[in-house]
Amino acid sequence: MTLTTPTGPASGPAPSRRKPSLLGRLPVVHQLRQSVGLQRGMLVAGLVITAAFVLTAILAPVIAPYGYGQLRDTDGAFGAQQPLGGSHLLGTTVGGYDVLSRVLWGSQTALFVIVVAVLLSIFAGVFLGLVSGYFGGWLDRVLVVVCDAIYAFPSLLLAIVMSIVISGGQSNLIGGVLAAAISITVVFIPQYFRVIRAETVRIKSEAYVESARVLGAGNSRIMFRHVLRNATRTLPLIFTLNSSEAILTLAGLGFLGFGIEPTAAAEWGYDLNKSLSDVTSGIWWTSLFPGLAIVLVVMGITLVGESLNDLADPRLRGRRAVGASSGLVAETSVVPGGTLIAGPGGLAGLETPATSTPSDEEGRS
C-alpha cells in the first residue's frame, strides 16, 4: 500500500515559505489585489473618497479660507446669504458664515466623532459579544434580549435623548462631540455585540476549538487565541458600516437642533437645519454643499464596506475570465454547489468532495 499519489498543492519540494509580508496580509490591501472588474472599481472609488475625507479633516485648518466661526475679516463682516463667488467661493450662510470653510471644517468634526464613537463601541461590543457567545447561559440570554431591544429602537431618538442627558443639547466642541459620540456608542454596541456573538457561537463548535478544549486549554486561552481572532474577521466591514451611520446620526442630531454650536465647531447637520428656511426663498447654496459633503463621505465609506463584503464571500467574488486552453492541469475538486463556494485559497485549497459521511446525532447544536 505504498502509493505515490499526488498529495495536493504541496507536493514536490516545498518552496521555502515564510508568512506573507505584513503589508500583503493587511485586510484591505489583500482584497485590493484579489478584486477584479466592478468590485475593484467600487473598492478603489471608495478608498479614494475616504482618503480624501480623512485628508481634508486633518488639513482643514490649512486649506479652509476662513475659520468655522468666523463672521468677519479685515474687509468687514461677511454678510448673510451672499451668493457664490468673490471671496466666498460657495457663498455664506444665513448666519453669516462662509459656506466653504464650514464644509471643510465640518469634515474634522465628522472624523472626530467617528473615531470616538467607533473606538468606544468596538471594545465594549466585541468583548461583550465574545464573552456572551462563548459562555452562554443566563447571562447570554439577558444580554441578547437587552441588546435586541436597543437595536430595534430608532437609533436617532435614543441619540437625542442621550445628547440631552449629557450636555443639555447645545455645547462646545468637546461636549458636543462627546455627546454625539457617546449616544452613538450606546446605540452601536448592540450591533457589534450581535455580530461578534453570532460569529463566536459559530466558531465555538468548530473542530479546532473543540480540539483545544479536549487538550485542556483554559477558557481565556481558547477565547483569545482561537475564537477572537477568527470572529473578528468581519470587523472591518462593520467598522465601515458604523462609521457611515455615525456621520448620519451626527448630522441628524445637528439637523434637529441637538448638535454643536457654530462658534464651537462646524457641523454639517447644523448648517442644514439653518438652511431649511432658505430653501423656500430659493437660496440653494447654503444647503447643497453641506448635504453633498455628507452624501459623498458616506458613499465613499459604504462603497469600501460593500466591496469588502463582496470580496469576503467567495460566492460573490468575481474572477478574471480564462482562455479555453490555458492553465495547467492541477488539483481541482468541484464540491457540491459549484466552484463558487471554494475556500479562500481558491480551488487549490479545497477538500475532497465532501464524502460527508452521515454525520451525527440530533441535538448537537
Partner: protein, 362 residues
Amino acid sequence: MTTVMTEPAAQANGPKQKRKPSGGGIGRYIAVRFFLIFPTIFILVSMVFWLMRTTGDPITAALGGRLSADELAARVAAAGYDRPLFVQYLEYLGQVFTGNFGTTISTNRPVTEVLVTYGAATAELVVYCLIVAFIVGIPLGMLAAYYRDKAPDASLRIFAILCYATPVFFAGLLFKLVFAVWLKVLPVAGRASTSSELQMQLLPNKTGFYTIDAIQTGNPAVLGDVLAHAVLPAVTLGLLTAGVFLRLVRTNVIGTLGTDYVDAARSRGVSEFRLVRKHAYRPALIPIITVIGLQIALLLGGAVLTETTFEWKGLGFMLAEFLQARDFVAVQGIVALLAVIVALSNFFVDIIAALIDPRVRY
C-alpha cells in the same frame, strides 16, 4: 438607520434518518415571541425614564428659569416629583401598562391625546413610505440579483448606496427646492392646505388619517390636495427605505441562487427567470422579512427627520418640539408608545416569517 448585514438564507439540513413528530412547533414559537414583547418594552421605557431623570425632574427642566424657587418647589411637590425616584419609577411603570401617560407640561394636555392626534399623521406617512419602498425596492432588488454583476446590477447597487448615503432631510430639502420652489408643482410643506384642513375638521367622523377624511368629504379637490402634500415626504423617506430593501433583497436572493436546490431545479429545465422569482425568492423571504421588521425602527427615526423637514405635524415633529421644550413627560410618553410599536412589529414579523417557513410549522 439600521443596516443590512444579513447572511443569505441558511440551507435545509435536518437530521438524515429522522422524521420529527411535528406539529405544535408554531404554537410554542408564537408563545415565546409573545412573551419577549414585555421585556423589550420594559427595557426601553426604563432606559428612557432613568436617562431623563438624571437631568432632574421635568418641571425644573422645563420651567426652571421662569419661576421663583418657591413656586418651583411647590409645583414639584404638587406633581409628586420630590418623592424617591424609585417610587416614581414604579408608579410610572404602572401607569404605562394601564395606558395612562400623564399630562404634558408645555401644553398641559393629556399625553394620550397627543399620541392619538399626531400618531395618525405619522402612521399615514409611514404607510405611504412603505408603499413606495416596497414598490421600488423589492422588484429592483430581484432585478439586480437576476442581472448580477452586469451593468443593470451595478447601476442599481450604486443607486441603492446613494439612497442610503443621502440623509433624509437633505433629500427632502433638494426635492423641496426642485419641485416646490423652482418648478412649483408640489406644495412646500404641511399635510394639507388650510382650506382642506378646515373642511376635514368639520367632519363628524374624523379619523385623523387625512386620506380617509378627504375621501369622506367627497370633494375631489381636497383629496387631490392631501395627496399632493403627501408625495414629497413619502417619496423622500420611501426612497431611502427602498435603497435598503434593494440591497437586502439582492444579497439574499443571490445567496439562495447559489444553493444546490436552485441548481437542481435548473437541471430539470426550469427557466432562469422562474428560478429567481420562485425558487430563490421565497427562501430568501425569511431573512428579508426579519430585517424589514427591524427597518420599522429605521422608518420611525426617519419619520422624525422627514416630518421636521416638511412640517408634517406627526409624532416625530411633535417629539422634536417637546424635546426643545424639555417636556419630558411628553417625550417619555411618545418614546413608550414607540417602544410598544417596535416590540409589536417585531413580534408580527417573526410570526409571518415562521408562517412562511414550513420547517417551523410542521
